[in-house]
């Protein structure tokens, strides 16, 4: 008799965004009075930029001719893309990262879910609270986190690093022993950032204790200020303690194209084993490369024309963020993020719970956001809005929220 993986059965509820999608679908099917505006899931809305579209068409044509057809991609990604990544995302920022430390994938979600496989199940994991649910769920599914405290509504064997208004939503280095630390800056969901000096402290701590930092840099393209690092490898010594995950979803609108990459430095070893070699083995065994046409689209992201078009696209979203932030603040909301980040994190009015506020927005004014508590216990009483919407709809959504009284 085949026995199932009981670790899966310990997962709490279903995946947050699947939950929200179901609620919205049910509401929509009843024909709401106002058209629904989605500022919930961090999905982009601007079309793929023209120079990337051109690259896609051209790559599709290559696939249609025997002379230029491409079959299986190289395990780690095509050289042309890994070179563009190294040159633009690292060398240009003074980070000494090499091409064989870049692993191209189908996106940051897969990588951030799969990366924990490289570690044994007896490591102690630390996450920010609130946090992107994939970090926690993937560790539960692996059996690394097992014991849930129903009373406190939190995992007993997971180290939570509270991010609160008091600490400016920037985690503090935990006092207890931890082995694997997930950090994400600019932060999802709170929209906050970390300064280079502060990130350096994490790197120093990890090097001192032997912990490994999984650094999620999916939102780095939104950084507008100077002293905020785009990569953890801007910090000294990060190559011996950090893995970094990147996405093309938010800087180039690839949520529906699927492309990302992970950096595993060759100097990163634990127990005498190279994590670069382990991740290479995983890639070679359980993955078969991102589509050639999508990797060509990724290359176009780094072209001069692509960069210019994407700068405009990011500005578009950042104008939304600024509009949401400043207008809700003006309306009396306590608002965080929205600078150097596409996420606005707000305190719910009148001590409403996150889901109560979600319901009021959905059923009252047809606006979809994300309940903060879905990201962790310290997200309770908060709510995330994204700047990835259409400009007119974003303005309309903010107007609707402002029209509500609580």
């Amino acid at each position: 008799m085949a026995k199932i993986n009981q670790d899966y059965c310990r997962l709490r509820g279903s995946y947050l965004f699947s939950d929200i999608a179901r609620k919205v679908r049910e509401y929509e099917s009843k024909g709401p009075a106002l058209p629904i505006i989605r500022l919930g899931i961090g999905d982009v809305t601007r079309p793929i930029a023209p120079s990337i579209i051109n690259a896609l068409h051209s790559a599709v044509d290559e696939m249609g001719s025997a002379a230029t057809f491409k079959g299986y991609a190289p395990d780690l990604g095509y050289d042309f893309l890994r070179k563009a990544i190294v040159d633009n995302d690292f060398k240009a920022r003074g980070c000494d990262i090499e091409e064989d430390e870049i692993f191209v994938s189908d996106g940051a979600k897969s990588d951030s879910g799969n990366i924990q496989e490289l570690f044994s199940t007896d490591n102690v994991v630390a996450v920010c609270d609130p946090v992107y649910p994939v970090y926690v769920d993937s560790n539960v599914m692996a059996g690394r986190i097992k014991n849930f405290d129903e009373d406190l509504d939190r995992w007993k064997d997971l180290v939570y690093m509270p991010c609160t208004a008091e600490n400016g939503f920037v985690a503090e280095i935990p006092k207890e022993h931890v082995d694997i630390i997930y950090l994400c800056y600019p932060n999802n969901p709170t929209g906050t950032v970390i300064k280079k000096d502060d990130l350096q402290k994490w790197v120093d701590h990890a090097n001192k204790t032997g912990a490994v930092i999984i650094y999620d840099a999916a939102y780095e393209a939104y950084i507008a200020e100077d002293d905020i690092p785009h990569s953890i490898y801007e910090c000294e010594g990060a190559k011996t303690c950090a893995i970094e995950i990147h996405s093309f979803s938010k800087n180039a609108g690839f949520t529906g194209l699927r492309l990302g990459y992970t950096v595993v430095p060759k100097e990163l070893e634990r127990e005498g084993v190279s994590l670069n070699a382990l991740w290479r083995r995983r890639h070679g065994t359980k993955y078969n490369g991102a589509p050639y046409i999508v990797q060509k689209a990724g290359e176009a992201v780094y072209s001069e024309a692509g960069k210019k078009e994407l700068r405009a696209q990011i500005d578009y979203y950042m104008n939304n963020a600024e509009y949401i932030r400043s207008n809700l603040e003006e309306a009396g909301y306590e608002v965080y993020g929205g600078k150097n980040s596409p996420y606005v994190w707000l305190k719910t009015p009148n001590h409403l719970s996150s889901w109560e506020f979600f319901d009021k927005l959905l059923y009252g004014i047809s606006v979809v956001g994300t309940p903060g508590v879905g990201f962790g216990p310290h997200g309770e009483g908060y709510f995330r809005l994204t700047a990835f919407g259409d400009r007119d709809k974003t303005v309309e959504a903010v107007d609707r929220i402002k029209s509500m009284t609580f």
Copy 2:
């Protein structure tokens, strides 16, 4: 101190096809006298069919316009593709499979590597010998297979089902207790097939014992004869014991586009838990959908024009298979497969080991094949050639092999 996953360290050598690629790269860099012909890795060479190229261009255009842009795909895949799959691959064959039992993915390799996650680590796994290495390696990486016998060069805690000339390279139901059974027909690497009556015996056995069959149907499009099942769901009772994995790589040349799907029937439960629900949860948590443009390409595979073009493509490869098979047989080789399958499996001449034969072909005549022993102990003394090459190069490779004396 972060501790690494020691299960990864138990893997034998590197991934077979990465090994071969490295050997070939080194040989090529030395400037061989004859141009290299690759009949090793099962990668296709014909360009993507015209109606699929049209679908790709059209989907790319959609991505370039705000009105038709697509962001995150639905967790399980777009309805249009799942409907096409159900109608063509199942309903048309009398298999009662529904759309919410289809999980679209980036390919059969990922799915066949990841599917083991649904099961606890104390299940006993059975594989054919020889076998596609991903089934074994992914179970080693998960800690389900731990003990290697260096003397016998085989895993102690894995049940091998020998496929030999004596049993026509069709596995026999193991006498010992097993929980998870991997089957692949048409078979990779031996190119053999299983008749419906024989597959029914496996299904009955699994239903009797509670085992789960992971059925890899990646090569079903090559089936030309009547009494050979395209899907395990053609057998009665398969929905309570079998998961089936499909690929678009070999029927439509998508090795570089990446698309596949897995069927997990809703009736399939173990220990009171729905495997459909578990796989849905994995998809939702660690995966973010196949690219929209690739799913549109998948839809075109099932269009009338697409089917006609792909029939011609498969015929092209099957003519290669027939050429390899009949010519090597004529030249005195002991040859299997190559009918209902794109793989030809041959006994090495003069008792050469698989790798000795590989080296002779590579260094002697610049032909790349796959050493049978790379697929398991009972593959020793055998060699796999694929029919996925260009016609002229395939003929040239066969001529070169025939020119060799051993």
